[in-house]
Every structure is written in structure tokens, then in C-alpha cells.
């Protein structure tokens, strides 16, 4: 059976999500609503019976029975209401999740041109804020109107059953209210729109005046700016008053109509009692039911307002993402023929929606396995051309054939399988090096199925990964990341023992050469590249109470600090660090990048600000325990060589060195075995592999010395057959948010590596080596030589001295290919390529 094609998300109405929360849940909700309505009516009937039957019979047992039933009905009604809310929340949240999931899925597949004009912030706001109102509405879309309308009808029916005349007259006010209230609400909506616009105008005016405040001061134009601002806020004042009045008017109108109810009941009901057409119990029940009509009615009015708000927001979000994906995502069933890697471009045009022609009748052929360099002046259309070949942009005219297939008509799956695309500004995703390395492979294997997990048989071997890392020149970087890792000894059994052998080999082979760049873990040395805590403890804690994150909660350790008079100077140092950090960075939250030179991290910054404020009026020892612990933690994390906001005071340094000795003695007495102290014969678990090999910290950032360190490390690791294991550890390095923990060059190398790992038959590189050093660029170009005849390469290059590595070169100018051929031929012709290399006058 042919599956019914679902409408594009942007065209779906808000109500289409109601059933996405789950049909069984909606049915449960309906049952609960019916139960609730019945349970709401039962007390009314009981009120009538209690007044009528008990007054006439004086039976206490009957009174108790009625009261128990009443009580039970109230409890069950409350329980039903709770269950309704619960189910309603489940439906709403599920629908919201589904809405977010589908919209995000849709957004990721929108054309790249869409993202040129859409700010990431607006996508975030739409997905995070705007949709939650719509989700909230979807949750209540059935339950609120149905339960309240049914309740209203049930009460109405009950009233009419009690006395048709009184019932109809009492209820007659609601149709009138239904007619009047939407009219008042529509006025509120109009005023609300005006308010939003005026608020935007005010924000714009404030931004302008504050941005140019130096001009305001220079010209003394305070009055002019005030006037502009006052005009807007006066306008806003009127609009807000009208808006508030309308909103209040909705409530007042509603209350007014509802308030008429009892008056009508008293007048008409009293008259009917006098005439004997209704008994007292019925009147009491009538009054009670009439009063209870107010709640469902109020809920309906609120629901109406939420509906209006949600509809406006939902429509606005969906309108923003109304575009559709430009390419087919999945293969056409049965179209599994192998696609070749010859590229033929015929009369290719690319015109922007504004009518700017960026590609103009481009013709080019790249044979299978051939390597083409694309060069040209800035803005000549090189990037657009390779993006059109790589199906990142949809061309507006002509054709691009890949192995005889029109690229525009190929599915995304075919394209990503065949083509590897490396952009100029690669994006590295949060996660480990390994996860980024496997990114393209995972995407390829996960495209046709819901999960993006890589099947075990598709996982490239460590050897393959290492080969690719070496090809792109990332191997040593990853090795270094591995060496700088503090390992979990349980995850790598036997590694510690081998590193101890490396330590001996290092001292034997390279100790003398590198000694001046290492601060060794010697008892009398203060370690400027280690934290205060490392300097003090000078060992690896075994007892969890002595772990770095637990130390300030360890009362015995705090007692030790007191004992050797270290607590006070450490608290002072911690306070200085906090005060200095806050005085530089201010009281607003800051990003991690601005905190690298202070021991305070981004998540705890606000706590630091709070303490800095307290320290303005209190001494550090007057602060509460929690604050003192924070200050102490800050001081213990202080690394003088890294945290330059404060200099380590000489007296503190001496005290810590004395404290180190005292701690060793104290520990052997009070906590024997809690810490393994630094010793040349022991692996230090709190330090990186490299520091363990050195038995100290490397103190220089010199590239030359670091290169030498890498060479020594490779030599030592190869000797002990540990190279692959340490590279494996390096691949688990966390690259940070968007690859922040990697350099620009490392990011670019990683982006090339992840594409090479999926072994594409056509590789497109858009200035993909621009952030690399010359050595790395040369290495990659040399590796590319091996691909000739096997893998087609189209590469936009910025370094024209690299042209010799390519079979031919195409030169672009103002969207056209003006020259194409072998480099030496084009240079001999003294055409555009010659001009590019030697200048106009060359």
C-alpha cells in the first residue's frame, strides 16, 4: 500500500499536532473528562437532597450517607482533575517534543541560502520559546474545551431539569457574553500588536542613544535625545493604557455577565418559591450550580486567549521556516547503479534571488581520477562553483554531470557517498577527536535509518584512522593530546608500569638535553606549573576524601591547614583571586575563553561575583562556611604560571613548601596510605602521561622545544610499543565546544581527515588547507599525488605555488572560466593565470 505523504511541516495547522501526543492518551483523556463532568454534577443533586430530604425526614443516617457520597464525589472529581492535568501534560509535552523534532529535522535540511539570511538566534528562539506556547496549547486543545463545555452543558441540563424556565433564563446571559467578549478581545489583540511595535521602536531608540552616548556628551545633546525617547514612551504609555483597558474589559465584561446570574436566580427563583413551583432544596442547588458555572466559563475564556496567542506564534514560526529542501534526501528505489567520478559542467549558471549572476555559462570537464586546481580573483565564483558541484547550492541553469548523472537530481545519500567536501571554515562538533573523525562515516551509514550509530563492521580500524591522521599531519598532535591526558588506570591496565620504564629511558637518553625545560618533581622545588594543591600534597591521593574536589570538605585536612597556619594565607590568596577576576571581568556571566587566566570557571563565576560583593563589607573569616570553601578551592587551584591575574607571594611559596613536608608527616600519622607521594619509582596518577615520563612539568611553549619533545616521545613510545595506545587515548580527547580546544590548523586537518576516512571518489576542497602551515600543506599535496587516477580532486587553492601538484588548472574571473589547461601552457600564454601570479605589470 502506498504510504500517505505527510504535508510539509510549515503547512500543517496547530491542530494537526493534537493527535501526535498519542491517540490512546486522548481516549483516556476523554474518559476522564466524562467522569469528571458526572462527578461535578453529583454534589449539586446531593445539595438539593440534603436540604429537601433531611429537613423533612430528620434522618441522621441519611445525612451521613449523603455527606459521604458528597465527600467521595469531591475526592474523585479532584483525582480526575489531577489525572486530566497529568494526561494533558503528557500529551502537550509529547506534541511539543514531536513539533521540535520535526521542525529541527526540517530546518537542518533547508537550503544553505536560507541560513545566509536567518540568524541562529531566531532559530533558537523559535524552537525553544515560541513553540513551547504552541505545545502548551496542544496539550489543552481537547481537554480544556471539552471538559468545560461538557461541564457547562451538564450544569445547564441539570438547571433546566430542575426548572426549565429558571434554567433557560439564567443561561440566556451566556450567548450574549459569547457575542460581546470576542469583540472586546479583538480590540485587545490590536492594541497588543501596537504595543509590540512601539516597544521595538523604543528599544531601537535606546540602542542608538546609548551607542552614541559619547556624541551626546560631546554635543551636550541630552535634551534632543530625551525628546526623541519621550515621544516614544508617551506613545507607548497611551497604547499600554488602551491595551490594559481592553484586557481588563474582557474580565469585567465576563464578570458582569456572570454577576447577573444570581440576581436572576433570586428574582425569578424567589418568585417561583412563593408560587410553590420550586422547593428550597432546588433553589439551593440552583444557586450552587449557577455559581459553579463560573469556573468552566472562566477556563474557556482563558483557553480562548491562549489559543489566540499560540496560533499567532505558531503561524509566525512556521512562516519563518516555510521553505523546502532543495534536494531529494533518499535514493529512488531501484536506482542503485554505480556512479562514476568524471565531472562534466555545461553552461552552468547561478543567479541569486536578487538577480546577481555569480556563475555565467561555466563549462568544464574533469576526467575520472584527474586533479584540478581552481584559482581566480577574489569573488570570481570559485566557492559557488564547487558548492554547486557538491550539491550544496542548487544551480539555476545548465548542468553538472557526475559520472553522467545530473547532480541536481541525485539524492543527498548518493552525493555524500560519492563526494567528500572540505570547506574553508570547517566546523568541528562538540565531542571527542574520534567522534569528529567518524562524523562523515557515521552520517553516511545512518542516513537511511533512524539511528546514526555506526555499524561495527563499518567502523574503520585504528590502523586506518592512524594512516589518515598521518596523511593530514594530525598524528603528532593527537599523540601529544594523548600524552597530555591524565589516564584512568583501570581503563588502561599495565600502562602505568610501561610509562615508568619510559621515565627511566627518558632520563637515560634525553634527561640532560631537556632538563632545563622541565621543572622536576623534587622535594625542594616549588612547581610553578602545578596548582597550589599539587604543590602541597605532592602526591596522588588514594583515599577519595583527599581527591581534589573533596579536599575542602575534609575536616581533617582543614585542621591540618589550620595547624600549619596555611588556612589564612590561602583564604587571602583565594579572595585576591576572586576580587581581581571580578574587578576585571565584571559581574555579568562570562564565557570560558575569558577565564583561562584565573582558577574560576564559567559555571561558578556567579558564585565568585557574590563572594566578591560580600568581601566588600566583610572580612574573609566572617563569611559563611560555603563561601570560605569556595575561596579555599580557588586558592588551591591557583597555578602561578597560568593564572597571571595574581603573582605568587614569596612568603606563601615558602609556607607551601614547608607545608608540603608537614603534610607528609601529618599524613603518615593521621591518614596513612591516603596519598602516594611523588617518587621517581611511582606512577603519578594525578599527572599526565607526559609529566610522568618527564617526572616533572614542561615549562616552555617554544615550538622548537615542543617539536623535540614530540620526537623524543615518539622514540620512547615506539621502543616500548606504546605508540598506538597513546594515540588511541589522544583520540578520546574532548575537542570542547565547537572544537575550541583545538587550534585552527588542527580543526582544518581534522575536517580533511574525517572526509578522507569515508574514502570519497570525488574530493572537493574549498581552500581547505588555508589555515595549515606550509609543511602540512606540502604533506597533504604529496599524499594527493597517490590518489591520481583513482580519486578525482577539485580544489580551490590560494597558494599558487601548489599548482604543480595538479593535472590542470581552471582560472575564474567574474563567474566565468577564462582559462583552463596545464599550468605551464597557461603561464606560457601569459594570460590571466600569469597575471594572477606575477601581477598586471609582471
Amino acid at each position: 500500500m502506498k504510504a500517505k505523504k505527510e504535508r510539509p511541516i510549515a503547512e500543517r495547522s496547530i491542530f494537526s499536532w493534537v493527535l501526535k501526543g498519542g491517540i490512546p492518551l486522548q481516549l483516556v483523556l476523554l474518559l476522564l473528562i466524562f467522569a469528571l463532568v458526572i462527578l461535578r454534577v453529583v454534589p449539586l443533586e446531593l445539595q438539593k437532597r440534603i436540604v429537601n430530604d433531611i429537613l423533612s425526614t430528620n434522618k441522621f443516617s441519611l445525612l451521613v450517607t449523603y455527606c459521604l457520597i458528597y465527600f467521595g464525589a469531591v475526592i474523585l472529581a479532584s483525582g480526575s482533575k489531577f489525572l486530566i492535568n497529568w494526561v494533558q501534560t503528557l500529551i502537550g509535552e509529547r506534541a511539543l517534543t514531536e513539533m521540535r523534532r520535526e521542525l529541527y529535522r526540517h530546518i537542518l535540511r533547508l537550503p544553505l541560502s536560507f541560513f545566509r539570511t536567518t540568524r541562529p538566534g531566531s532559530v533558537v528562539t523559535s524552537l525553544v520559546n515560541e513553540l513551547s506556547i504552541a505545545g502548551n496549547f496542544v496539550g489543552m486543545a481537547i481537554s480544556i474545551p471539552l471538559s468545560n463545555i461538557l461541564t457547562l452543558f451538564a450544569f445547564a441540563a441539570y438547571l433546566i431539569w430542575l426548572n426549565p424556565l429558571l434554567g433557560i433564563v439564567t443561561l440566556s446571559i451566556y450567548p450574549v457574553a459569547l457575542f460581546v467578549i470576542p469583540k472586546v478581545q479583538s480590540g485587545a489583540n490590536k492594541a497588543n500588536k501596537k504595543r509590540v511595535n512601539a516597544t521595538k521602536e523604543m528599544a531601537s531608540q535606546i540602542t542608538e542613544s546609548i551607542s552614541g552616548v559619547h556624541e551626546v556628551h560631546a554635543h551636550g545633546s541630552f535634551f534632543t535625545e530625551e525628546q526623541k525617547y519621550n515621544t516614544i514612551i508617551d506613545k507607548l504609555l497611551n497604547i499600554r493604557i488602551i491595551w490594559t483597558l481592553y484586557r481588563q474589559a474582557v474580565k469585567v465584561t465576563n464578570n458582569l455577565f456572570v454577576g447577573f446570574g444570581p440576581v436572576i436566580v433570586f428574582i425569578l427563583g424567589g418568585y417561583l418559591i412563593m408560587k410553590g413551583e420550586i422547593n428550597l432544596g432546588a433553589l439551593v442547588a440552583f444557586l450552587s450550580a449557577q455559581e459553579k458555572l463560573y469556573d468552566p466559563w472562566k477556563d474557556l475564556i482563558n483557553f480562548y486567549q491562549v489559543y489566540q496567542d499560540a496560533s499567532v506564534r505558531y503561524a509566525s514560526v512556521m512562516q519563518s521556516f516555510g521553505e523546502e529542501s532543495e534536494f531529494r534526501l533518499e535514493k529512488i528505489p531501484g536506482s542503485d547503479a554505480e556512479i562514476g567520478n568524471k565531472v562534466e559542467i555545461k553552461n552552468l549558471d547561478f543567479v541569486t534571488p536578487d538577480g546577481v549572476k555569480l556563475l555565467d555559462q561555466v563549462n568544464l570537464t574533469v576526467e575520472a581520477g584527474e586533479h584540478l586546481a581552481l584559482v581566480g580573483f577574489s569573488g570570481s565564483g570559485k566557492s559557488i562553483l564547487v558548492k554547486a558541484i557538491g550539491q550544496l547550492y542548487k544551480y539555476t541553469g545548465g548542468s553538472v554531470l557526475l559520472g553522467g548523472n545530473e547532480v541536481d537530481e541525485l539524492s543527498k545519500r548518493d552525493v555524500v557517498k560519492k563526494i567528500g567536501f572540505v570547506s574553508q571554515d570547517p566546523f568541528i562538533f562538540t565531542g571527542t577527536v574520534d567522534e569528529n573523525l567518524l562524523y562523515a562515516c557515521k552520517a553516511l551509514s545512518g542516513m537511511s535509518v533512524e539511528t546514526s550509530a555506526l555499524a561495527p563492521d563499518l567502523e574503520p580500524s585504528l590502523d586506518k584512522k592512524i594512516q589518515i591522521l598521518q596523511e593530514v599531519g594530525l598524528f603528532v598532535d593527537i599523540l601529544r593530546l594523548g600524552l597530555n591526558t591524565i589516564i584512568d588506570h583501570q581503563a588502561y591496565p599495565g600502562l602505568e608500569e610501561k610509562v615508568l620504564i619510559l621515565r627511566q629511558n627518558f632520563q637515560k637518553n634525553f634527561g640532560r638535553e631537556l632538563a632545563k625545560y622541565v621543572e622536576f618533581y623534587e622535594d625542594l622545588n616549588y612547581l610553578y606549573h602545578s596548582s597550589v594543591m599539587d604543590n602541597l600534597i605532592f602526591g596522588t591521593p588514594l583515599n577519595t576524601r583527599y581527591f581534589s574536589d573533596k579536599l575542602v570538605d575534609n575536616t581533617e585536612f582543614l585542621g591540618f591547614l589550620d595547624c600549619c597556619n596555611l588556612k589564612k594565607p590561602l583564604l587571602e590568596t583565594g579572595s585576591d583571586l576572586i576580587l581581581q577576576t571580578v574587578s576585571i571581568l565584571g559581574s555579568e556571566p562570562v564565557e570560558e575563553v575569558f577565564l583561562t587566566q584565573t582558577p574560576i570557571c564559567a559555571v561558578e563565576y556567579s558564585h565568585g561575583v557574590k563572594i566578591a560583593r560580600q568581601l566588600e563589607s566583610l572580612e574573609v573569616d566572617e563569611l559563611e562556611d560555603t563561601e570560605q570553601k569556595f575561596i579555599l578551592t580557588t586558592a588551591l587551584r591557583f597555578v602561578p604560571s597560568r593564572h597571571k591575574i595574581l603573582r605568587l607571594q614569596p612568603h606563601l611559596k615558602e609556607m607551601i613548601l614547608n607545608g608540603r613536608n608537614a603534610f607528609r608527616q601529618w599524613c603518615s600519622k593521621h591518614a596513612p596510605g591516603a596519598v602516594i607521594f611523588y617518587s621517581n619509582a611511582e606512577y603519578i596518577r594525578s599527572q599526565s602521561i607526559l609529566n610522568n615520563i618527564f617526572y616533572g612539568n614542561l615549562t616552555t611553549s617554544s615550538p622548537k622545544i615542543n617539536d623535540r619533545v614530540n620526537q623524543c616521545a615518539v622514540f620512547l613510545l615506539v621502543e616500548e610499543d606504546l605508540l598506538e595506545q597513546v594515540v588511541g587515548i589522544g583520540m578520546n580527547f574532548d575537542v570542547g565546544n565547537c572544537g575550541d580546544n583545538l587550534s585552527g590548523g588542527q580543526q582544518q586537518k581534522l575536517s580533511i581527515a574525517r572526509v578522507l576516512l569515508k574514502d570519497p571518489k570525488l574530493l572537493i576542497m574549498d581552500e581547505a588547507t588555508s589555515a595549515l602551515d606550509n609543511k602540512s600543506q606540502d604533506r597533504i599535496h604529496k599524499v594527493m599525488e597517490n590518489w591520481k587516477g583513482k580519486r578525482t580532486v577539485i580544489s580551490v587553492i590560494h597558494r599558487l605555488d601548489m599548482l604543480g601538484h595538479y593535472d590542470k588548472v581552471a582560472v575564474m574571473k567574474t563567474g566565468k572560466i577564462v582559462e583552463c589547461g596545464k599550468t605551464e601552457d597557461l603561464l606560457a600564454n601569459k594570460g590571466v593565470l600569469h597575471e594572477l601570479i606575477h601581477g598586471k605589470d609582471g
Binding site: S211, D576, Q580, L585, S702, K704, D773
Partner: protein
């Protein structure tokens, strides 16, 4: 010690820190000196002290490293290679800012900058610099202003030199004549 003496001592303690030394270095550089104090403070928090030994490259010809350096100690030289021979262009001393344009956008180096002895420098990274400038948009025009005035000064010197050397016909135009 009375409270004002204590406060003085406190201030001195902060002044002695590497942070204040770096702030002074940044404040005295031609490109950054017009920046607002808050912007400079944040720049100090993202710049790093780097050590070099003799022959270490701070920048390499034809590469886009995205760094600017302020030399704090030692000596470095700018060397241009024509493919076969290396030519010394000039030497830099402590306090000099080198490669500031790379902070503003991508550019490949036209010379190699190498340490002649053990050298220390403050290094500013383009991405970090731009993150700071995003927080102080009003300061961007100050950077541009400093750069333009420096370019104009440089151009004037070039033309004067060409004129005095009688080489005005060599068709070499300065940046401001583009």
C-alpha cells in the same frame, strides 16, 4: 597598618601581577592604545605569554597563523625569502607589536618572523580577539582608526623615501593610494 596603607598594599599586590604588566604592554601598542579600558582588560585575559628559543618561528612566510605578537623580552627578526635566499628586513625589540592586521582577518604572512635568542612574547589569537571585539562593538572603529592612521603614516614615509631616493618611477604605490 592603617586601612589606607592596607589598601595601597592591596593595590600594589595587583599591580605586581603579570596581568598588569601585560595590560601595560597592550596599552602601549599602536593598534590597541585607543581601546576602552574595559576592552583592553578583556584582551589581557585572552592573550598568552609564549616563550621562544633561538630560530623558533613566530610567523612563517606564506602561512596564515592568525596571531599577533607583542615582544616582551629578547629579539626577533623579520626575514623574507625569495625562494632561494633569505633577506633580513628588520629586527624587532621588546614593546613592538607585530602582525596586528592578522587579528582583523585572514592574511598570509609575507615574511618569516624568527627568534634570534630566547624571547618572550604576548600572543593574541584572531578568534579570541574577535570574541572580545564582539563585546565592544564601539571599539572596532578605534582599531580601524589606529590602523588607517598607521597606514597613512607608513605610506607617507614610503613616498618620501622614494622621492628622496629618486625612485618614484618604480611604479610602487602605497596602500593609501590603492
Amino acid at each position: 597598618m592603617n586601612s589606607s596603607t592596607e589598601k595601597m598594599a592591596e593595590k600594589q599586590k595587583y599591580r605586581d601581577s603579570g596581568y598588569h604588566e601585560d595590560l601595560e604592554q597592550l596599552r602601549q601598542s599602536f593598534l590597541l592604545r585607543r581601546l576602552s579600558p574595559d576592552c583592553l582588560k578583556l584582551l589581557v585575559m585572552v592573550c598568552k605569554r609564549i616563550d621562544f628559543v633561538k630560530d623558533d618561528h613566530l610567523m612563517t612566510q606564506e602561512e596564515d597563523d592568525g596571531f599577533a605578537y607583542i615582544i616582551t623580552s629578547g629579539k626577533v627578526s623579520a626575514v623574507y625569502s625569495d625562494g632561494t635566499v633569505s633577506h633580513l628586513i628588520r629586527r624587532y625589540k621588546p614593546g613592538d607589536l607585530i602582525g596586528g592586521c592578522a587579528l582583523l582577518g585572514r592574511m598570509t604572512r609575507v615574511y618569516t618572523l624568527q627568534a634570534e635568542e630566547r624571547t618572550s612574547a604576548l600572543r593574541l589569537k584572531r578568534d579570541d580577539f574577535q570574541k572580545v571585539m564582539e563585546k565592544f562593538p564601539a571599539d572596532i572603529s578605534k582599531i580601524t582608526g589606529s590602523l588607517i592612521s598607521e597606514l597613512a603614516k607608513w605610506d607617507k614615509t614610503l613616498l618620501e623615501r622614494q622621492f628622496s631616493e629618486g625612485s618614484l618611477q618604480s611604479r610602487t604605490l602605497g596602500v593609501s593610494l590603492l
